[in-house]
């Protein structure tokens, strides 16, 4: 009787029940999905979401892709539809792909929110909007132009070449460049695959290939410290880095002066507001036509149309960055 060995994997599975204890059966269940679970941006978002969930007694499910697989988001949404949740909140990686699944969720009576990046308007109830792609792109480009004195070369380090959000921002950056800054030239866009190491070596090479580059714009959160480290190690004090990054990872570089500023919103507040909005949506406190929402420690937050507004993008500089911890 040597069969027991075959049962090892089974035993492993049967051990699972120990890992799960079903608490409060009637609590509101809110399922929230980041674009990428491992990205520090969403890690901090989750902290805020958990804070709000604790305050409201909401059961928060947090799951999403761990790698860049556009099909994964659909798979998770479908599973949550089957499982039955009260509210879905999704940061959308691929608008067209996910909207079909989100519409299905709405048909089944699930309230749907998007946060961070929007789906098609008819696929969700509200969008928790931290900033429009256009707003982000304009803030970044205007800041860059100011630093460069309105002329010269700059380069962009992006996430992966196929990252939907980044590509949208870059398109807006290019448009802004074309209409407002004729004497500034974008010399190259390099990928970093959301890997700090890759952002580092790409920036190193960039600086040598285009020695006249005065500014590197890193538009993905792991790419900012990568680009900053490359500039710092090159010893070039005439090159500045700006971008979309998280304060904690960028603090040392901002104090060094390598990174002049980073543009972002408070990601923890974004998570917090999303859960608040989800709760309000499920309990009827937030419905079509509303013009405001009481969002706990954030106070009263403006609702415009079907957008819940977090506020405008925030610029972190040497003066204020130490006040933030995320």
């Amino acid at each position: 009787m040597k069969r027991p060995l075959a049962l090892v994997p089974l035993a492993a599975l049967l051990a699972l029940p120990a890992c799960r204890k079903d608490e409060a059966g009637s609590a509101l269940t809110l399922a929230m999905m980041p674009k990428n679970k491992g990205n520090p941006y969403f890690v901090s978002c989750r902290k805020g979401a958990e804070e709000a969930a604790r305050e409201l007694g909401v059961r928060l499910l947090w799951d999403g892709p761990t790698e860049t697989d556009p099909a994964k988001q659909n798979e998770v949404v479908e599973a949550w539809i089957t499982r039955g949740v009260d509210v879905l909140a999704v940061s959308v990686e691929n608008k067209e792909a996910i909207s079909t699944a989100l519409r299905r969720a709405r048909q089944k009576g699930i309230k749907v929110l998007t946060f961070d990046a929007d789906a098609e308007p008819d696929a969700r109830d509200f969008f928790v909007n931290q900033a429009t792609p256009q707003g982000i792109a304009h803030t970044l480009m205007d800041r860059a132009a100011g630093l460069m004195g309105g002329e010269g070369q700059f380069a962009i380090v992006t996430a992966s070449l196929t990252a939907a959000n980044q590509n949208e921002w870059i398109a807006h950056i290019k448009a802004r460049l074309g209409e407002k800054y004729p004497r500034i030239e974008l010399v190259d866009v390099r990928p970093s695959d959301d890997d700090r190491q890759r952002a580092f070596s790409e920036t190193q090479t960039l600086l040598k290939v285009h020695p006249k580059v005065k500014l590197v714009m890193a538009v993905a959160s792991p790419a900012v410290p990568g680009a900053a480290e490359a500039v710092k190690q090159s010893g070039r004090t005439d090159v500045r880095v700006i971008g979309l990054g998280l304060p904690n990872a960028c603090k040392p570089y901002i104090h060094d002066g390598v990174v002049e500023s980073i543009v972002l919103w408070n990601t923890m507040d974004l998570g917090y507001l999303t859960v608040r909005a989800g709760h309000a949506l499920a309990t009827g406190a937030l419905a079509a036509g509303a013009d405001g929402l009481d969002a706990g420690r954030l106070g009263r937050v403006e609702v415009r149309g079907d957008n819940v507004l977090l506020g405008t993008p925030f610029t972190f500089t040497r003066e204020n960055v130490d006040q933030f911890d995320f």
Binding site: L5, T66, P70, A79, T82
Partner: protein, 322 residues
């Protein structure tokens, strides 16, 4: 070694173990998961598993013959964007674009076949090269940015529709492909030859088998299947972008090996592969419905891979000693 040894019965104990594992998953998750045991969920599991399932089917004869194809995930992505490019930018009607995409898959598979079967280069290396090449061509064609959407509803039904109200359309594709591969591997002269080649390519050559042609066949077919998976994928998501199918090759290989196919060739079955695909798909879906961290799936997959092989060996040893 004679190809007869490669008949399905040679594996039946392994498949019994695997079936037990799948059953175990189903039992555990029906207890833990919310709405796990429902027709709707079964349909969703099938739907999500189809693209990887098609790749796993394609890889089974490749691995049985002693080879490997790492390029299938990249080719899925390449096919997806070529379909999009032909249809949207080239103005080619889908009725023509679809067969053209499948032909592209065949051509890409033929490149692998040429290098592996004709030039006798190691499959691992060849397909490692085409893994980069195909993904790179997809990125190059689209500059990474292009995302083809707005496909007509008739085409999307392939990936989103239901038959008889409950069966996802792509499940039919999977079943048809499984049947085809089942016949190829288990009921044809060519299939028998593949086992022989997997056991010993030199021996097969000496026995007068057309080794090069048989190998070429499985790599070309693998290309076609990757393109087909690409079509299903595009229809499922409604979009075609260069990152489609990233990393699918590893999931597919995991499913094939979990299904009892020997990575050294010479042994493996289509039903084993299907069970392997099911084991992985149910695991991922079940963990989610049970609100358990999905990282657990990776850890458990690793354990299952090792345990399944050890269990098979143990059972095989037991049988030969009795």
């Amino acid at each position: 070694m004679p190809p007869e040894r490669a008949q399905p019965w040679g594996n039946s104990s392994h498949e019994a173990v695997l079936a037990l594992i799948v059953l175990g998953e189903v039992v555990v998750f029906s207890l833990l998961g919310t709405n796990f045991l429902s027709l709707g969920n079964a349909a969703e599991v099938l739907r999500a598993a189809t693209p990887v399932g098609l790749l796993a089917l394609a890889l089974t004869p490749v691995i049985v013959s002693g080879g490997i194809d790492l390029s299938v995930g990249s080719l899925l992505g390449f096919s997806a964007v070529v379909l999009g490019e032909l249809w949207r930018d080239g103005g080619v009607p889908l009725g023509t674009a679809v067969p053209l995409t499948l032909a592209l898959g065949a051509a890409a598979g033929a490149l692998n076949a040429l290098l592996v079967a004709r030039l006798r280069m190691p499959a691992l290396i060849v397909t490692l090269g085409t893994f980069s090449l195909f993904r790179g061509l997809a990125e190059g064609l689209t500059a990474g940015v292009e995302n083809y959407t707005g496909f007509p509803a008739g085409f999307l039904r392939l990936g989103q529709g239901y038959l008889l109200g409950a069966i996802p359309t792509q499940a039919l594709v999977l079943v048809a492909a499984a049947a085809l591969y089942g016949v190829l591997l288990h009921a044809s002269v060519a299939g028998r030859a593949l086992y022989a080649i997997g056991f010993s390519p030199e021996g097969a050559r000496h026995a007068g088998l057309p080794v090069g042609r048989r190998l070429a066949l499985v790599y070309v077919l693998s290309g076609v299947m990757a393109a087909l998976a690409g079509l299903v994928y595009v229809a499922y998501l409604g979009q075609a972008k260069a990152d489609a199918g990233t990393g699918y090759e590893l999931t597919a290989i995991t499913a094939v090996v979990l299904g009892g196919t020997s990575i050294f060739g010479g042994r493996g079955t289509i039903h084993g592969t299907l069970l392997g695909v099911a084991a992985l798909a149910v695991l991922h879906n079940g963990l989610r419905l049970a609100d358990l961290p999905t990282e657990m799936a990776g850890v458990l997959t690793g354990l299952l891979l090792v345990a399944a092989i050890l269990a098979r060996r143990w059972l095989a040893g037991e049988r030969t000693t009795t």
